[in-house]
């Protein structure tokens, strides 16, 4: 794996507030790396330090073999940034912004292609102040990509986008990754992190509490799957003894069986053997939501 970003013991303090306590990770070339966590966890501060926009109080950072603080100028020629809380001049038009940002680097690809990809062609003559939240967001992502960067930083890329636009955005980000661009993204959306990221770090209170592929995280921290069905049968105590089953709970007709491995097949076979044929037998996979809860002890919304 070709390491493109290295973070060692990053720490950043704003006055009395510790934004980042101690975070270390590496990002490989050509992957989509995500930082997932609630608001105020330190994700944005971390990626802003990586882009040279903030000075870390401690730790060692390398991005594309450059130090974001001392080589900031050179670094910014190689990366693309989509930031939270930024803006363009009110009366600047969409095409003017794309044209301007593509002029920063020689050999930038034609900005009209990116404008088309991100669905902005219709709005090309609109001023920034007249764009909706979602349109602004798409423009910012487009501006981050217009210079064909080696690494692109996306901070809450899909906030403000409607569901259809989010799915389009995910597809476009995957396409960028497939062309070899490394993507570092910050998000507090579980589904986005799970579907889009190749590897994912979970950030909570300024620390990186877990780091793996989304599937790896689920397997490690929420290994138990749930088999769910409904039945009238009164006595199900024998389910406890079926192999792979760890816990059986019942609420009226609804039965939940927690277990691991081939628990679904085992439970199904045992039910059939006893002549119980529930029509709604199904398996519930654990999600990142469960991972997050089991690692941090709270849901991602708790701290909002």
């Amino acid at each position: 794996m070709n390491r493109i970003i290295e973070v060692e013991h990053l720490r950043k303090v704003y006055g009395p507030t510790v934004a980042v306590e101690d975070i270390s990770f590496e990002v490989a070339e050509g992957e989509i790396f995500g930082l997932l966590g609630p608001n105020g966890a330190g994700k944005t501060t971390t990626v802003e330090c990586l882009q040279g926009l903030r000075r870390p109080d401690a730790g060692r950072l390398r991005v594309l073999d450059l130090d974001p603080q001392s080589d900031g100028k050179e670094l910014r020629r190689l990366i693309g940034s989509q930031l939270q809380d930024s803006a363009l001049p009110d009366r600047m038009r969409v095409w003017e912004a794309l044209d301007l940002f593509s002029s920063f680097m020689p050999n930038s690809p034609d900005w009209r292609i990116i404008m088309e990809q991100w669905g902005l062609t219709e709005k090309r003559k609109s001023s920034f102040s007249r764009l909706s939240g979602g349109q602004r967001q798409r423009l910012f992502v487009a501006l981050a990509l217009v210079n064909n960067p080696k690494v692109v930083f996306l901070d809450e890329m899909t906030s403000g986008l409607d569901p259809a636009a989010r799915h389009t955005a995910w597809g476009l980000i995957r396409a960028i990754r497939d062309r070899g661009t490394t993507v570092v993204m910050v998000t507090h959306f579980m589904d986005e992190a799970e579907r889009l990221c190749d590897r994912l770090g979970i950030v909570d209170s300024g620390r990186l509490t877990a780091l793996d592929t989304p599937q790896g995280l689920i397997a490690t921290y929420a290994g138990q799957v749930r088999v769910i069905f409904s039945t009238d049968h009164a006595d199900l105590s024998w389910l406890q003894n079926v192999p792979n089953v760890s816990l059986v709970s019942r609420h009226g007709q609804r039965v939940e069986v927690e277990g691991s491995g081939p628990v679904l097949a085992r439970v199904a076979a045992a039910l059939v053997e006893r002549g119980i044929l529930p029509a709604d037998l199904r398996l519930e996979q654990p999600s990142l939501e469960d991972v997050f809860l089991s690692i941090t002890g709270h849901t991602i919304q708790d701290q909002d």
Partner: protein
């Protein structure tokens, strides 16, 4: 270079799309021209360096165009960009700070030229103002004047945190300089303190640098040197003190 020109051109377009700033920059000196043109009889007078009042005031009002850009236009522009997060967005791009400053100087030159031409044209038509004695030296004085005030405006923009602060302080500075630096009452009717205070203001030297060759007094080296010093100091201070957010 390509980026500098592109950014400058966009900034010119943004200026034109902002009617309030445009009216302030272009119309205010014209309003003064007409008000004072109505007050004074247009006869040569000792108070006005032995020139007709309107010949005396027209070059001074070119200084007013320059000062309104540097004291109000630019600081408000920078403060607004900072407040809104535009500077934050620029900072994360490969756009160097000098390009941002450079584009503001270019835009100031373009706007000041347009404002100056408009003012001179109107004063010639409405008040029969005569053509400058040394037009080449007037132009030569115009250039460093705009650059000096662009530097002052950038410094104010670097220092003043909010749009409101920039508007407030910028307007006060503008009005004080306007009254005391040659666009207001002639020095002979002002008190000693007022005259001395006026001579501390950079606009006083702009007025001198443009008015002297206009009225046939030649090139004013002292004024030029003062403005060169102001430009250097303000530019260095801006680069040091500039805050992106």
């Amino acid at each position: 270079m390509r980026t500098l020109l592109k950014l400058s051109w966009i900034e010119v377009k943004l200026f034109v799309r902002e009617p309030v700033t445009m009216v302030f920059t272009f119309a205010l000196p014209l309003i003064f021209l007409f008000v004072l043109g109505g007050v004074f009889k247009n006869m040569p007078s000792e108070e006005f360096r032995n020139a007709k009042p309107m010949d005396y005031y027209t070059p001074a009002y070119i200084g007013l165009v320059i000062a309104s850009i540097g004291l109000v236009g630019l600081p408000v522009h920078f403060a607004k960009y900072r407040e809104r997060g535009v500077l934050r967005r620029f900072r994360a791009s490969p756009l160097p700070l000098w390009t941002i400053f450079g584009s503001q100087v270019l835009v100031s030159l373009i706007i000041a030229s347009l404002g100056g031409i408009l003012l001179v044209a109107v004063s010639m038509m409405a008040f029969d103002v005569k053509f400058p004695e040394s037009p080449a030296l007037v132009l030569a004085g115009f250039l460093p004047s705009v650059i000096a005030f662009a530097a002052i405006g950038t410094l104010l923009g670097a220092l003043l945190p909010t749009t409101r602060a920039a508007q407030g302080l910028g307007l006060i500075l503008f009005i004080v300089m306007m009254m005391l630096s040659g666009s207001g009452p002639p020095p002979e009717v002002m008190s000693d303190v007022m005259v001395k205070t006026g001579q501390v203001m950079p606009l006083y030297y702009v007025t001198r640098l443009i008015q002297d060759p206009w009225l046939g007094f030649g090139w004013n080296w002292d004024a030029f040197m003062v403005l060169a010093g102001v430009t250097l100091a303000a530019s260095l201070a801006s680069l040091r003190l500039f805050r992106w957010e």
